[in-house]
Amino acid sequence: MANNSGAAEKEAHLAHHFVDSEQQFEASKLGMWVFLVTEILFFGGLFVAYIVYRSWHPDLFEQAAMTLDTTLGAVNTGVLIVSSLTIVLAVRAAQINDQRQQLIMLGSTIALAITFMVVKYFEYASKFEAGMLPAGLYTYEGIEHELAPVFYSIYYMLTGLHGIHVIIGIGLISWLMVNAAKGTYHSGYFTPIEIVALYWHLVDIIWIFLFPLLYLIE
């Protein structure tokens, strides 16, 4: 960002329109929190669709939940929770100026996120094979309920949208790694790691709601 305010010796990361680093950090963090609120409402629409159809057809949701693989879901839940820990440790590493630790922790987070997507891929693949596709393409015959296709529509919309968020997260964290390798982040400036970590926690928390709602509740 152009720094043409003429002020003497500002720190490199400080954009021209902020008074100091603290103001910049707080503004960025508030902006991220507000963005997370929009994300919750974005998913909120789908959760409402889930609640409405579940309350109309509880028997359908009970039957359909049986077709989902609880073990794989549980593994993925564990994977995401651990990744939330690793990204916080990356923030911590930046705060104590430990560049090696930053790279290790960001790298582990990406590895865990990819693990999540691979597990998800196997889950989806087996569903596709059995014909459990969104409504228009649905061919599975194992559930005796006329609205079974709608359950899978909701399932794919929720997990699919969540999956897209995981992929975006992988992109963001890779970008952090590139910068961390250059030594951009240190105890005086770790805003990007902090706000991406906030985003990553949201992705984690949404999954923590999805897992019981889709796989466990009977």
């Binding site: 902006g31 994300e39 974005f42 919309m157």
Partner: protein, 582 residues
């Protein structure tokens, strides 16, 4: 804040440089310096140009619709084309014009200046929001070129999943434009919280900023729900996911709930910023402290809150349960309370003020009349029994045009005239401005008053044909729409003329007390030569103007290139709790 060690700030009055040769309009040149600018004023100006184009397109379509309705049967277009045109008129006016109109254009230009900041918190996000908006507009144009859309701007299922028109690209366009709206909202909230200059406490914020704050909250909370709704609609059409389509076991009323959960709050995204402009206009042109500052400020937040609880009043006849209809009807009346508080406070501000009826004030008066009619008819529509009779008639059409056009558009025009000298540094012709305001006021009523009458007599909205009894009313309304066109043409002529031949504007032509009048016209690239310090309320017209032109003295304030002005007057104030910056 700049000097956190001690509890005192050295401040000084800074003289304003009139008509600086180097300002935000010309400090850099070339198309690229505009398209990739991070300056909030330039981005706001690009938004302004875009919404003017959108308003022109939407307006032409409206004149086309009205002309078609000259005779009871077909006049010059066929019924399908008519359906396409009213859909496009709605989509363009709602998503391309009115939602970004005040916040993204005027708000972008003035929010940082009124806070005393150099820019919004996230300038790059701001630019991204403009580009995302443009991308959404490209999708909308693509849909027009590929068959258009004939569903109405509401995209109700199941028709929107069955019709052969370009629903997918149009809804994707609206989905994309939603993100631009969210980006603006996030940016404004962070800016208002974190970028206020020293002394700019919440209680000293101009009411326009309070209204933008309330608007941003609605944008941030409601728009994502529209996003997911339109995404589900796209999936419904593309894959047949069966959530909204009754043929696949879905529920079309669920779509309406989803849609109005956004789109009802969205009407407050459209009108609340207009309230902010009216507050500024009325106090400046009455030379008087606004009556009930906190009542007006907090009623914006109250409208934002209550606005989320009333969406069901769009579905009184859609088959929702009687109990929810009763509850929604009751809650709808509550919106009238904060709105009424505002109107009464504005009128009380006028009382014993020294009113100067300049063009912006004329628009504020027009707003008070038209918006009050629109608001009161809205209360009538919120009443359950009356609504069943008036649902989907011209009465509803007239109501929302009184609120959206009579309210928002006239407030927008008032704001545009009020800030025109500040934005471009040129004065427009006061005589022609007043002529066009009066023409627009008369023309507006000629167009829409007959629609209240027709609506209560049973003329349904969106119909291509009508029975002959309505012909006279329709023709009056059509003549009114042509007169509106004439009024806007006059406005376009004198505004463009002012850019080339207009007198140079002084920094404070109206004697305002808010911060945008304490910098040059047009403002310099960084808005102020100094970090402003605020020691009075935004409307303290009884205090000397030099006390509003204070800035931090010294070179450590982040704008160190300013050399000491001549005859500057320095004083010291306690900082402490007065620094409202964080």
């Amino acid at each position: 804040m700049a000097d956190s060690g001690s509890r005192t700030l050295r401040i000084r009055e800074f003289p304003i440089e009139e008509n600086p040769p180097k300002n935000y309009l010309n400090h850099e040149r070339g198309l690229m310096s505009w398209l990739f600018t991070l300056d909030h004023k330039r981005i706001g100006l690009m938004y302004l140009a875009s919404i003017v184009i959108a308003f022109f397109l939407g307006g032409m379509l409206a004149v086309g619709l009205r002309t078609e309705l000259w005779t009871p049967a077909g006049t010059f277009i066929d019924a399908d084309t008519y359906n396409h045109i009213f859909t496009l008129h709605g989509v363009i006016m709602v998503f391309l014009f009115i939602i970004p109109s005040i916040p993204a254009a005027l708000g972008n230009i003035f929010l940082p200046i009124m806070l005393g900041a150099k820019d919004v918190a996230f300038p790059r996000l701001n630019l991204a929001s403009f580009w995302v908006y443009s991308l959404g507009a490209v999708f909308a144009l693509y849909s027009i070129a590929h068959g258009g859309v004939d569903t109405g701007w509401t995209f109700y299922t199941p028709y929107s999943t069955e019709t052969g028109s370009a629903v997918i690209s149009m809804t994707l366009g609206a989905f994309i434009m939603g993100f631009s709206s969210i980006m603006t909202g996030v940016n404004f909230i962070a800016t208002i919280h974190k970028m206020r200059s020293p002394g700019m406490s919440w209680g000293r914020m101009p009411l326009f900023l309070w209204s933008l704050y309330a608007t941003s909250i609605i944008q941030v909370l409601a728009t994502p729900v529209l996003g997911i709704t339109l995404l589900l609609l796209v999936m419904e059409r593309a894959l047949g996911i069966g959530i909204f389509d009754p043929a696949l076991g879905g529920d079309p009323v669920l779509y309406q709930h989803f849609f109005w959960f956004y789109s009802h709050p969205a009407v407050y995204i459209m009108i609340v910023p207009a309230f902010g402009i009216i507050s500024e206009l009325i106090t400046t042109f009455s030379r008087k402290v606004i009556f009930g500052y906190w009542a007006i400020a907090l009623s914006s937040l109250a409208i934002a809150f209550i606005g989320f609880l009333v969406w069901g009043h769009h579905m009184f006849v859609s088959g929702q349960s009687e109990l929810s209809s009763v509850v929604f009807s009751f809650l709808t009346f509550f919106v009238g309370i904060p709105t009424g508080i505002k109107v009464l406070n504005w009128v009380t501000t006028l009382y014993r003020g020294s009113i100067s009826l300049k063009t912006p004030m004329l628009y504020a008066m027009i707003f008070l009349i038209l918006f009050t009619i629109g608001g009161v008819t809205g209360i009538m529509l919120g009443a359950l029994s009356v609504n069943v009779h008036l649902h989907d008639t011209y009465y509803v059409v007239a109501h929302f045009h009184y609120v959206m056009m009579g309210g928002t558009v006239f407030a927008f025009l008032g704001g545009l005239h009020y800030w025109w000298p500040k934005i471009f540094g040129k004065m427009y012709n006061e005589f022609w401005a007043k002529v066009s305001a009066v023409i627009l006021f008369i023309a507006f009523n000629v167009t829409f008053l007959p629609q209240f009458v027709m609506g209560s007599q049973g003329m349904p909205r969106r119909y291509f044909n009508y029975i002959e009894e309505f012909q006279v009313m329709h023709q009056i309304s059509t003549v009114g729409s042509w007169m509106l066109g004439v009024g806007f043409i006059i406005m376009a002529i004198y505004l463009v003329h002012s850019l080339y031949k207009g007198e140079k504007a002084p920094s404070n032509p109206w004697g305002g007390r808010t911060l945008e009048w304490m910098t040059a016209s047009p403002p310099i690239h960084h808005n102020f030569e100094h970090t402003p310090v605020i020691i009075h309320g935004p409307y303290d017209h009884h205090k000397p103007i030099r006390e509003f032109r204070l800035g931090i003295a010294g070179s450590d304030n982040g704008h160190g290139h300013h050399t000491n002005g001549d005859g500057a007057h320095t004083e010291e104030v306690e900082s402490g709790d007065q620094t409202g910056s964080r």
